[in-house]
Every structure is written in C-alpha cells, then in structure tokens.
Symmetry: C2
Subunit: 280 residues, 2 copies
C-alpha cells in the first residue's frame, strides 16, 4: 500500500488514523471522491472538486475547507508517490465534535487521501441482481452528493453477491432504476443512450456526465429519463459507468439475459473516453 | 471528558483513534448504541444488546463480535470510570478492509465506548419542523437498525435549527411520519397512545418499546399505526422518546401550536419510566 496523505503530511498507512470523536466515523458526517490517476494526473479533477464543493455546501462546512490548497496537495501527493496509474480517494469529514448530532460551530475538518493500485480492466460483462434489501432514497439531498454513508449500497452488493451476481441494481422508492452500487446505469436502445435523471436518485457521476457529453460523437442521442426494470429487457445493451472502471457492460439481470447488440456504439464510447484520458 | 474504552483498554480520549482504513469511517459500515447509565448501571442493557445483535446480523458480521465479552467490558468500564449517571455510547465498526465496498471475509471489528455527562432534563416542550431536505427511507433495512450513518438526520436537524425549531420530524417516502432526528414520535388522542410502526421507517427504539409496554398502566391504549401530519393537529399531545431524554413534549410544529391536553397521562408515563430506572 502506498503512503497516505493526511492533513498536509505524507505518512505510512499504519500511522494514519482519526480520533474516535471524528464525526465522519460516528455519524457518517463527511464526503469523499474516488478518482482515476492516469499518466500521473487526476482525470477530470475539476468535476470531482466541483462535486466535493457541492457536497460541502449541502453539509454546510464549505468555508472550512481550503479547496485550492487541497488541489495543490493532490498534485504534490501524486508526485511524491510517483503514482502514474492509480486510484486516488480523497476523504473529508467534519472532524471531531461533541456528543450528539448538532455540529460544532467552527468545524476542523479531517482530510486524508489514499492511493491504491488501478484495478485491471474488467472484460467479462456483469451479472446484475435487483436489490430488495434497500432502495435508493431519491428524497434525500444525500442521493445527489458523494457522502460517506455507503451502507445501503453495501447491503445491496452483499445481497447480489449472495445471488452469485457481480453487482446490484438499486431501485428508488418509486420503483424505477436509480444506479448500481458504485456506478451509474445506462441503457442503449434504438440509437438512444438513456440514463435516470438525478432526481430519480442517480448520483451525478463524473463518468456519467462525460458519457452523456460524448454520446453524440458515439452516434447515440443522450436522454435523461426514468428507467423501469422492463426497459432492461428491451435494451440493445445495458452499461454501467464510474470514474475507475469507465464503461462496463451487463450480461444478465436476475438471471435473465440482457441484449448485447450495441457493441460497436459501446466500443466507440470507450475509445472516446480513452482519448480524453490520454489527452489530459 | 471521561476516558475511552477501546479494544479492551481504557485510555485517554486523545489516544483513542481508528485507522483511516476503518470501514466505519470510509463507508459508515458499523453500528452504535446510546444508553443511559443510571445508578452505575446501564438501563435496559438487554434491549440495547439485542438491537446491536440484530444490526450485526443485518450487516453480516455478528460472528465476529463477542457479545458476552462486550457485556462484561461495559460493566468494567462503568466501574473503572465510577460513572453513576452518564451517557454510554458503544460503537462497533467492521474494522479495516481493502478499497471498495466488498467487505473482508474475516472482519476484525473495531469496538470503542465513551461515557459523557448525562444532559439536564429538558423542561421546555420542543418546537418541531417537518424536514424537506430528506425523508426517512422505510425501504431500507437500515431504517430498522442503529447503523452509523446519521447524515440524513443531521441534515434534517440543521434544516430545523435554521427555522429556529429544536428538532425535525422526518417523514418517510410515502409522506407519513417516521420519527424525529434522534427520537421516536407518539401522539396521544382519545385515550390512545399512537406511534408509527417500524415498517413506516421508525427505528425500533428501546424507549419506544418501554413506552408501548407501560402505556396501559398510564391509562392509555398503545397502538402502532401510520401517523399523518394532520394527526398532529388533532392530538391531545405529541411526545418524543429516546433512551437518554426519555419523554419530551412538543409545543408546536411548523409554527402551529400543538395540543397540550394530556399532561396527566404524560406525567404518569414519566413516573412509570422513572420507577423502572430506579428499580434496575
């Protein structure tokens, strides 16, 4: 494991810890971003920092985090660790506070970063399972920011793995599709690339935004609309996206095979994304 | 601040910390219990440990936590700190794990406990505000266990405080009342004591269970049924309960005064609870 950046210092992993009074630990009171480091640069860093800023605004402590300083710390950390291709996670919590929910007036956020090896590209399409243990809460402002609590997603993933699936699809409380546990969901059909809108409980993923932006170049019309489970069966292809795995195809859902008829469009999307990575 | 119990040792608060690889910190992957220490004993300890066990079952690592050992550690910790009246919080996380949602096969949970001063009894009835920033997700198994993620409740509280209210009422996704941010909700009307069922998103609170059990002795018929916002206006009294504050009355909600006509029944409930505390 590479060293850890914490509050301005680069230290060994076993020296990196937070107080047990930290509100991120006690209440999930914090945010994170997971980013791809490619050619020693963070891909789409602006988009990640923008989402982090938006999350800090929702949680009400944006003024306590020096974002320009964080941006230069990211660059120095990657350089110090000589990370060429890696996964960077930045975690920001509200820091320590007294007992109870009410936050301290002047928070001292805890900030730390880790670098992990970039996982190998997955070649085998994913087997999906529709989670029943939980649903995505589209009524919560948290569904639109990347907050620390991922326990619902974790339960959904555990359920899927128990059914020998690779990942879970999470429905929202109205029963339409919101996302997978760490990815956005798209269906390709009749030349359209469709994905649930953020108000359906989809996290505004950075790769989701890039895919929507590149769709036209890949020959697809990008549309944000609610997706129903029955839309999966009708799709030419179902794809999942996130900032690390980029574009993954799904092969079945709850045991029913999914269409694999948009391969060329998917490959065009992948190539367009790859050229963005190489251009940055 | 009193000393902290962590993994079998009683240490100074500034020595108590967890690894930044802890999944409780990174993902909200853990549970907690907040308990009243009265006459140097934990009130309703069995009920709290039962809920913790149920939560560990949902999260799938109950076999990794030695609950009889935890029970004796609680007793030794309270004795060592000579805590007569205090708030005890027990936190259990799944411990450290590799990057990503999938949990380690053999988790090593992190367990720590804190004792804090018992807050003074609140005499002034609460002013409530119905949260709009989020709703309680009654579709999630997490709504029925005391999991670490409390960020939705924290957003609801911040919204309420911004409206000069003391606490927020949280609706579920169907729009009926689920709970307050750290309390269960009851209405008293026509001799009945009504509270939302757990399937409406109400946490199965230990004080909720005790109040339901004591209702008859207080001259009230206990009923679990869905509560609508309009039911508040019709109530003789609206009360909130939790294990620390026990029974609190509400005086208004979204600026509209609430009935204060069940004072005698509320006082009987309070007296019955107090005698249970003294008897343990």
């Amino acid at each position: 494991m590479m060293r850890v950046w914490q509050n301005g210092r680069i230290i060994e992993p076993d020296e990196a810890h937070v107080s047990i009074a930290d509100r991120g630990l006690l209440l999930g009171d914090g945010l994170f971003e997971t980013m791809a480091v490619h050619n020693a640069q963070v891909f789409d860093l602006d988009a990640h920092l923008e989402r982090l800023t938006s999350g800090l605004g929702v949680l009400g402590f944006v003024q306590a985090v020096d974002l320009p300083k964080l941006r230069s710390a990211i660059a120095r950390y990657i350089a110090a660790e000589e990370a060429s291709s890696a996964v960077l996670r930045v975690t920001v919590t509200r820091g320590a506070g007294p007992r109870g929910l009410a936050p301290p007036e002047a928070p001292h956020p805890a900030i730390f970063m880790t670098l992990s090896p970039m996982p190998a590209v997955r070649k085998i399409p994913l087997s999906l399972h529709i989670a029943t243990v939980t649903r995505r809460n589209e009524y919560s402002a948290l569904s639109r920011i990347k907050a620390l609590p991922y326990l619902d997603n974790l339960l959904a993933l555990a359920e899927a793995r128990g059914q020998s699936a690779d990942d879970a699809l999470m429905l929202n409380t109205r029963g339409t599709i919101a996302c997978a546990t760490v990815a956005n969901v798209f269906v390709i059909r009749e030349g359209r690339l469709e994905t649930p809108p953020v108000c359906d409980g989809a996290l505004p993923g950075t790769m989701r935004a890039l895919v929507l932006c590149l769709a036209k170049q890949a020959g697809l019309a990008a549309v944000e609309n609610s997706l129903h489970v029955k839309d999966l069966a009708e799709a030419d292809e179902v794809i999942l996206t996130n900032s690390i795995s980029r574009v993954m195809e799904a092969r079945d859902c709850n045991g029913l095979p999914l269409g694999r008829r948009a391969g060329a469009a998917v490959e065009r999307l992948r190539a367009l994304i790859a050229s963005r990575f190489d251009a940055e």
